[in-house]
Amino acid sequence: MNTFVMALRGLYGVWLREITRATRDRAQLIGGISRPLIWLLILGVGLNPYFRGEVYGEVRYVIPYTYLQFLFPAVIVLNIMYTSIQFAVSVIWDREFGFLREVLVSPMPRWLILLGKVLGGATVAMLHGGLVLILARFADVTLSLEQTAVALVLMFVLAFGLTSFGVILAARVRSFEGFGVFSNTVILPLYFTSSSVFPLDPALTRAQQAVTYPEWLVFLVQINPITYAVDALRGVLINFNQFPPLWGPLVIVAMAVVFFIIALIDFNRQ
């Protein structure tokens, strides 16, 4: 068997281990469905009366979609973020219990081991994001096959970048407990400052936006890369962009490349 095929089999083995572990773990799947239920069914429906129209010409946010439709792509990103970044727990687990050591002494190059793990984590995260698509009917989002395919590609690349980010975090956190706290302090601020639950009206200038929201918040939203990931999915799923449509895919790809390179540097040091 030539080296290339062996490397591919090794890559498949590492990928398959992550997939099998994640899909057999009911707790992870429960997490994957509880988040969309909380954010879409409870928060979305709970806030719906506040955001619905009462007088024609007067709404609390001027975007051509309902609040549930607006929230829907953001909940997909949230599900991907949690699954991807929590994937780092798997890296810590493998490190703590010696599996990583066993794999690292195999003939597989380190970058390939990391790629297998990240691809596995990204596949699981994309699957969790895909679960939210089942609720499209509830959110009144009509999906064509083409839209779904493009969304899944974007979701996978985003999940790849965020899983790599999870590996970067895992290299800096030594315990499970520490990671639990750390991941929440990363995920939730990133999510809330990504224009996920409130819109920045694209028709407004920066000065006009500063009248609606304080300038520091607008600044945080604009420098947050997750903002552009949410925007890219909104563009595909509900045909609404707050920023130029190309920015989202570009930021997602850049995140995937940069975070994987940093994760590789960290992984090689271990």
Binding site: L41, V45, E54, Y56, G57, V62, T66, L68, L131, L135
Partner: protein, 270 residues
């Protein structure tokens, strides 16, 4: 010997449970709008006094939109209550029409399915089509430096795009507030041509020498007319869309459409 279960079996069972659960949850009603209308037994439609052929004001032939919503109400087992409100279209800003959730469940009779309209309402497009049209004896707009009377109408077409384009063409605008001022500007020669929304143009009492033509399609796309519902009334919107779908399949919509010559309402220049 006991047979080992397939290694993907547990994963497949877990995923199947999740998918079934989420699919079942996607059928939950996200609001009470349909239930409230069913309890009251009435569907309230708000229309302007006249917007031919969508609203005529003639009880025998009330107009395309009124008959369409009447058929929808019948499908839903509700009684149609038509609220004719002179305030509709009285001002450029729909806020000043003072249409409230209490008065109307559905707004019709001159709403174009544009981003502007969808910023305030949820829409269901009908088969009627609209857009900006020009009116002049030559069938085209005058050269740079000429004068054009503009009657923007209230259907929600993009007035900013029109005014930007007119500036680019170096045409002087004669603003008009109603059909009378518009036709007077054309007949007196104060304006060499006119621009208005297609249904408004169709209802004008123009001289035989005037020809109607669409403005350039690449700059001014045509829009479908629409029924407007309050944002957040998702269950009602879904029920109306589904009833309309059934009416279309049964041919009832074609029947109403042909009675009002909706597609041939304005006679365009060749």
């Amino acid at each position: 010997m006991k047979r080992r279960p397939h290694r993907w079996l547990q994963a497949a069972v877990n995923l199947a449970i999740v998918v079934v659960l989420l699919t079942a949850l996607s059928f939950l009603p996200p609001d009470t709008s349909l239930k409230d209308r069913q309890a009251a037994g009435v569907l309230k439609l708000c229309v302007p006094p006249s917007y031919p052929p969508l609203v005529t004001g003639d009880p025998a032939q009330p107009g395309f939109d009124v008959e369409l919503v009447g058929a929808v109400a019948e499908q839903l087992g509700l009684r149609l209550l038509v609220n004719t409100l002179p305030s509709i279209g009285s001002d450029f800003n729909p806020r000043n029409w003072s249409l409230t959730r209490g008065q109307c469940d559905v707004i019709a009779g001159g709403l174009a399915d544009t981003v502007q309209t969808r910023s305030f309402l949820q829409t269901i497009p009908t088969s009627a089509e609209t857009g900006w049209v020009g009116i002049s004896p030559t069938g085209q707009l005058p050269a740079a430096g000429g004068t054009v009377a503009v009657l923007p109408g209230t259907s929600g077409l993009d007035r900013l795009a029109l005014s930007g384009w007119l500036r680019e063409q170096q045409l002087a605008v004669v603003p008009t507030r109603n059909a009378q001022q518009f036709t007077e500007a054309l007949q007196s020669g104060r304006a060499q041509a006119g621009i208005t929304e297609s249904f408004v143009a169709g209802a004008l009492n123009l001289g035989p020498d005037q020809r109607i033509f669409w403005l350039p399609d690449d700059r001014f796309p045509h829009y479908r007319m629409a029924l407007g519902m309050w944002k957040g009334d998702q269950t009602l919107k879904t029920a109306i869309a589904s009833a309309l779908g059934e009416l279309e399949r049964s041919g009832a919509v074609d029947g109403i459409e042909s009675r009002y010559y909706v597609k041939q309402y304005i006679t365009l220049s060749p």
